[in-house]
Amino acid sequence: MIPYLARVLVKAVVTLFAIMTVTFIATRFSGNPIDTFLGEGLTTEGRQALIDYFQLDQSLWQQYLAFLRGALSGEFGLSFVDRRPVTEVVAERLWPSAQLLLASIGLTIAISLPLGVLAAVYRKSWIGSAVMVVAFAGYAVPAFVLAIGMILIFSYWLDWLPVVGSSTALHFIMPTIAMSGVLVAALTRFTRNAMLDVLGQDFIRTARAKGLGEMRVVLRHGLGNAAITVISVIGLQIAGLAAAGSVVIESIFSWPGIGQLLVNAAIIRDYPVLQFGVIAVAFAVVAINALTDIAYALADPRIRLGQN
């Protein structure tokens, strides 16, 4: 188990370094921040004075080294615009994003696992077909369409749900559903397929032959073994959601999270915020992947024992 853990960690560190480098380069090529947040009508000398002040005058190479040195000591610099440490700027956005992510994961698991199992068990009846139709439809609808559609129906027409911010439980309903939509669809399908695969195995027949109840056969022996596939899918999907899903949803619902922060920082080219924000998200993705790998090993003895 220890060498396996070490491999997972080394992979994570290398990935993070690569992401930091790519982020640094990509932000520098997107244009000059002086153009965007200081308004119009700067003279060339005025622009130069500000470039010096914000230390944008160093060569890319020097800036990169300074950035890496800072990163190693935990100093990621100040936001160009509000002049606060970017770690502070990003930190205050993490919890709202995490709340939304956790709510979405919770909702997804609560819906997908039962639906997936149902669809597998009743695959020949209309129940199974109905679940799959819904799952395919859900997979085909992009999150922003779902979000705008819900806003139109539940806020604009019916006036039942609020659209702005994250202050109450009601505020969570639409963003959570919009975030979960595609995930529910995907996970339901994967759960069904994994269950079908497992339910056709010999040991299930043996379990039934022992005289175990159908419920116990399906949940204990069936779902227990299907869990390996399901866990890896959940891990991958959550990582994807943490990385990209929140950007659109947070912008639409004015959710004060990290996705919205990144969009704003990208528009005004606040490099330090953008860099650290992307790194924070990347760190979350890498951490989720590493945890998934570990959970995978825990669920499947073949992986944790067979690696050597």
């Binding site: 308004g39 500000l50 806020s155 659209v163 912008s251 004060p256």
Partner: protein, 516 residues
């Protein structure tokens, strides 16, 4: 769960109380508040509620009518020295009394700026002021280098709103010194003398104003006003409709009829005191012949752009002028016209051989910017110009390869100097970027326009500058974009004609809430 319920209950309290409170859903909330270094459209929404100038203007009027603010009276004691008597009962939001020290500190931080963001802001508009000086606790003098025709106009600029000296200096480092760090910290902990104090500022996200009961003037009508960022237009309109917010900003022209259909909602709009312009590079090797640039300008049917992009609600000017400029407003000048036949003739005269002319625009920076660019290249093609839209996010105004692009010329204050005068000054932004040349003759006209103390002399000089723009064009003001706000019918608020663009003025007399 208990905490969740508690927050829910707390969040609903203000609604239940029916107090004088409003929530604004804004497309953008400022990331910082420092009136000195800011002149952005996002920032200018927020200063007037929390900060005061020495002299104010009556914003309900289009023409300039100066009224006392932190100064109760002012007079020129020498041609270049103004003496101002300060109001004695003014306190800052932290309770400190305002004295001449604060005023001198606030003015000199701009007049003798060392903090680079102040330096660049002070240079283009406050350059004629050399220093502010304390005479006694409630008297100050402002010294100008040359006779100044625009004393009141410039003393009422947002950039020299008054901030507290002791508080600011103590924010970081040595409490006796004004350091760059102090100004940076101030921007997140702003403090002024206005009728609302900033109770909470979450950069880029949310700003909360609370009524300041120690205000020297008429007490603010609202107990509390909250501005939250709602970037997405659809969400903003929906939030207004569901009642989550009371006012929304930046309503696109095509949304107006949708909102007006709701009996509980209304819109208020105005042509913004800002020009979207096309600029042309005088020094591009292929555009050095002024006839080519004249043709590029004459080919553009700006009224058609207005009808198509702004539903006819924008304002198309005949010259670089706005009615807000009062006595200096000169609509009788015809500097810019649509004349495709003349454009064709000029191209032929100049021997235009069909080379490609690029028009740079960012994809989304200006409302309708990309659509206008596409329409303009079509109009060019109608007179035989081979135009191409070049979409890029980088600012190309300082690129020698730039041929034409969009830009804006805002009115920073209500005088032609506050718009054309800043952007097209000798050695100003346009010339220093290498796309506009001035000579001694232009500089002499500009000086006469800027510094003549006689209004007619200023007007005549401005007309001469416009003739230069006509003969050798570098800019074409396309239109003043139409900007709308939408709100509940119970909110009595509208943008005031005497403000610079985008100001959310919630002072007494500017907003009231009906009891419905």
């Amino acid at each position: 769960m208990f905490r969740l319920m508690l927050t829910t209950t707390l969040a609903m309290l203000p609604l239940a109380a029916g107090a004088q409170e409003i929530t604004v859903g804004a497309a953008n909330v400022t990331p910082f508040l420092d009136p000195g270094r800011d002149h952005s459209n996002v920032g200018s929404q927020f200063y007037y509620n929390s900060f005061d100038t020495l002299i104010n203007r009556d914003h309900s009027k289009l023409e300039s009518k100066w009224v006392p603010a932190l100064a109760t009276s002012w007079e020129l004691i020498e041609p270049t020295v103004m003496e101002l008597t300060l109001r004695e009962d003014v306190i800052f939001h932290n309770g400190d009394p305002m004295t001449a020290d604060d005023v001198v500190f606030s003015l000199n931080r701009m007049f003798q700026a060392t903090f680079p963001p102040y330096v660049v802001r002070a240079k283009d508009r406050l350059g004629n002021f050399t220093e502010a000086e304390k005479v006694d606790d409630y008297t100050v003098r402002i010294h100008a280098a040359r006779e100044e025709p625009l004393w009141e106009t410039l003393i009422s600029l947002q950039q020299i709103m008054i901030i507290p000296e002791v508080y600011t200096k103590a924010l970081t480092g040595d409490p006796e010194l004004a350091e760059d760090g102090d100004y940076e910290a101030f921007a997140l902990a702003p403090m002024g003398t206005g009728p609302y104090r900033v109770a909470d500022l979450q950069p880029g996200e949310k700003l909360v104003w609370e009524r300041f009961n120690g205000f020297w003037g008429e007490i603010a009508p609202l107990e509390r006003a909250t501005v939250v960022q709602i970037a997405e237009t659809a969400s903003r309109v929906t939030a207004l409709k569901t009642g989550e917010v009371d006012i929304i900003t930046n309503v696109a022209p095509d949304q107006i009829s949708l909102i007006e259909r709701d009996p509980n909602l209304k819109t208020e709009g105005t042509a913004t005191a800002l020009f979207h312009v096309m600029i042309m590079n005088q020094n591009h090797p292929k555009l050095q012949d002024p006839r080519i640039r004249q043709a590029m300008s004459l080919a553009i049917d700006r009224d058609a752009l207005n009808e198509a992009l702004w539903l006819g609600k924008a304002v198309v000017p005949s010259t670089h002028t706005m009615e807000e400029m009062g006595a200096l407003h000169q609509p009788e000048l015809t500097t810019f016209e649509y004349d495709p036949e003349r454009a064709k003739a000029l191209l032929e005269e100049a021997g235009y051989d069909g080379f490609e002319i690029t028009y740079d625009t960012a994809a989304t920076y200006y409302t309708n910017g990309l659509l206008a660019a596409q329409a303009i290249t079509e109009m060019w093609s109608a007179v035989g110009i081979n135009g191409r839209v070049n979409v890029q996010d980088q600012w190309s105004g300082d690129d020698p390869e730039m041929m034409a692009r969009n830009w804006s010329n805002p009115m920073y204050f209500s005088d032609p100097f506050g718009s054309f005068g800043v952007m097209w000054a000798p050695e100003g932004p346009s010339e220093s970027e290498g796309r506009f040349n001035t000579d001694a003759e232009y500089a002499e006209k500009w000086e006469r326009f800027r510094f003549s103390t006689d209004i007619d002399a200023r007007k005549a000089a401005y007309a001469e500058l416009m003739e230069e723009m006509k003969a050798d064009p570098v800019v074409l003001p396309l239109y003043r974009p139409f900007e709308s706000w939408a709100m509940k019918r119970s909110v009595n608020w509208a943008p005031m004609p005497g403000h610079i663009p985008y100001v959310l003025d919630f002072r007494a007399g500017s907003i009231s809430l009906a009891d419905s």
